[in-house]
Symmetry: C2
Subunit: 436 residues, 2 copies
């Protein structure tokens, strides 16, 4: 693999422990890992990228999405969640094909690469095809097949088989950027047996267990009715919580439930844009999660409910939402918000030793923003760079996206596939799906 | 003035009364006005723009900003409003110069042009220099000098003189795109005499009266303490409300106050991003304003508190905020949100006969978005175009910006000034200001 030198970035936002922001610094990458940082002017490499005028930062980590649903972007908006699912999304999903999921995943990959996301956690169907698209795109994906047994033991058995089949598929790919994850959909769609099976499978294979928890008030009300327990209390009682768990949403949690997640070592994928758009009500209790030490990452959720996969937008909306909700502008500052999208996101994936910061020895998942744009001017200095990234930057400022030391985009041109073809083919796939 | 033909836009979002979205349509522009819409393939014009692959819509209207404050972008974030003002903003503002305000206004103009804003309402100081910048940029500005008398009659007199001087300056410019507006800062910084004087001046000259009202709870508490009345009740009592009034923020209003605004014919500039970022608490009661028939537009506020001038972002955050706040995804749908940024914004300016929609006879303030981008794919059809604009589009999709039939940007290249020079000079101006 060719070595890569990112030369002389105006600013290098390391996201290391000290949160150092370095001036005029270079990054030397060998075998996909970061070998040297700082003044490396004498070093040469197989490929050089001139980063003058650029801001370098760790690639963003999207901890919850449904990539193939990018095909449903804009298809159904301004609806109540149950209407949205029952009248629009589920009928479409019955018509999904391998090819549609592949096209949707490639389109979503294009959007992620162009908006600076380098790692993501997915849950959906036809996951072999998603893996194929993500492999071609060059992104780092933690991919889970969405398991729904609806408390039917025959269905549970079939879903376990589907999961094992996908597990084998990913193992045979032998692609270090594509990781298998468990995907029991939610406590209200999966039996206790399935949840416990998934937990065991995740522990045995050191995999993330991706699940939806407490997205809506209704889910909590139903849980109370069915189990006389809130959702996380129920999961705790049956022994389904674990440190492999990455729980998306967690909007409607009590402090007690946050405490249970913390005790189990579970992590949270916070999806502010989707929660607001679907009017889930309430706001995920991030400050309490921080207090209890629960690792929290940010997610976009699928483009059907967001409607983008833009983590810059998600960062800003996240900070705005919590400030507004707590009537306190200090409650989620720019640095902590950037942490959520980078190093905290890596922690939520259990990958903080490999991802989430620009440090020697870590994988080279790095993005460059071109700071020579009106929305990033003026740039007041070291103390404001992080604030500029969170409150002023937009996805379109991302100029270069690098995963594992491989350049996926440079000068906003995707290098790993033909964008125009993907746009045309995904448009066709979406129309076929909707009209079919 | 050369005639202009926008040929064959894939989609033309008219924002006319029927909210027609036209397919494969052209727009013929003569003398800065829209002369013809639809199938005009036989017509030729001095300048032609090929709009294949593009979405045409009315230029966005930003009903509240402080353009020169773009120099303060990112300078002070994550602070309580009073800290922010007293420790950071006001000390900087004492150092403002004509040249700094000119540079800041040009930088802000660049950002607006590149994010699809064609009209805006401003309030600040050194307004001759702002007018100069806006004139060069070619934007449509409603400009007010910010009057603050702090209940001192000598200061009031001086501020009236400053206002008259700026009024004369604008009249002498004789630029149809630059309109004078009154700018009494707020009920808590201006005496009743000044407020009444401003009202009379606005009525005589058919000008907007731009003012801040009820941005914070504290303002309402202080008003209760000082006048035993809430802010709008106080303005009503002294006779300061009028149909010329464009009141920014209006976060902390009772239904009774909304009723008083409606009765007076006053309008509101809603600034969701700034209100959330400064953690003003509460949420402006938009549904109640709609019920009472108060015209509402959207504003970004200044880049010091937003931190962008991006109306696409403001549209999306606006819709998200109200859905989340009311636990109802239907409360502000995509169409109404786009209305707020276009035709309703025009109504808030009292300019609905000239601006805010693409209709024959109106001024040609038009933007084109390039739909061939991952974040705008797939495009499901006529029913989803507006939703795509509000929830999926970003400022960077704006390809062409036209004001009064003049092309200010094409292929994302600004035509009216040298962007690189403006970026360099505004960076210098900001550093001088901060270090000076």
């Amino acid at each position: 693999m060719p070595s890569l030198l990112i030369r002389n970035a105006d600013w290098l936002v390391t996201q290391n422990k000290a949160r150092d922001v370095l001036r005029n610094s270079s990054i030397l990458i060998r075998d996909g890992a970061i070998e040297q940082i700082g003044k490396v002017s004498s070093v040469s490499a197989d490929i050089e990228i001139d980063a003058k005028g650029k801001i370098a930062l760790p690639g963003l980590i999207n901890t919850h999405t449904h990539l193939s649903m990018t095909l449903f972007r804009g298809f159904a908006d301004d609806m109540h969640l149950q209407d949205w699912l029952q009248r629009k999304i589920w009928p479409l999903e019955t018509k999904l094909t391998d090819q549609a999921c592949y096209q949707g995943a490639l389109l979503g990959s294009a959007e992620m690469i162009m908006s600076g996301t380098t790692s993501f956690v997915d849950m959906y169907f036809h996951m072999e095809d998603v893996a194929r698209a993500v492999g071609e795109a060059g992104l780092r994906g933690f991919l889970s097949y969405g398991v729904i047994d609806l408390f039917d033991s025959a269905k549970a058995k079939a879903e376990q088989d589907n999961t094992r089949k996908f597990f084998d598929y990913v193992r045979n790919l032998n692609n270090p950027r594509i990781k298998f994850a468990l995907g029991p959909h939610a406590p209200y769609t999966c039996s206790a047996d399935t949840l416990l099976w998934a937990k065991e499978f995740a522990e045995e294979n050191h995999s993330i267990l991706h699940i939806h928890i407490a997205e809506t008030r209704r889910e909590q009300a139903d849980s109370q009715k069915q189990h006389a327990l809130r959702a996380v209390e129920y999961l705790d009682k049956i022994g389904a919580l674990s440190e492999n768990m990455l729980a998306a949403h967690c909007v409607w949690l009590t402090k007690g439930e946050v405490g249970l997640l913390a005790k189990a070592g579970a992590r949270v994928a916070h999806c502010p844009v989707s929660n607001m758009k679907l009017a889930s009500g309430g706001v995920a209790p991030l400050p309490e999660m921080f207090d209890f030490g629960v690792p929290v990452g940010l997610g976009t959720d699928g483009a059907a409910s967001n409607n983008t996969l833009d983590m810059f937008e998600t960062m800003k909306v996240c900070a705005l939402l919590h400030k507004a909700h707590r009537w306190d502008p200090t409650v989620l500052n720019a640095q902590k918000t950037l942490d959520l999208a980078t190093i905290d996101g890596a922690r939520a994936l259990g990958a903080e030793n490999e991802l989430g910061s620009i440090e020697v020895g870590k994988r080279a998942d790095i993005i460059l923003l071109d700071s020579r744009a009106p929305n990033l001017a003026p740039l007041h200095g070291r103390d404001t760079v992080v604030s500029d990234l969170v409150y002023s930057a937009s996805a379109a400022n991302v100029d270069t996206t690098i995963v594992d030391g491989r350049v996926l985009m440079q000068n906003r041109e995707i290098k790993t596939f033909n964008l125009h073809q993907v746009l045309a083919e995904s448009q066709q796939a979406a129309l076929t799906l909707v009209s079919g």
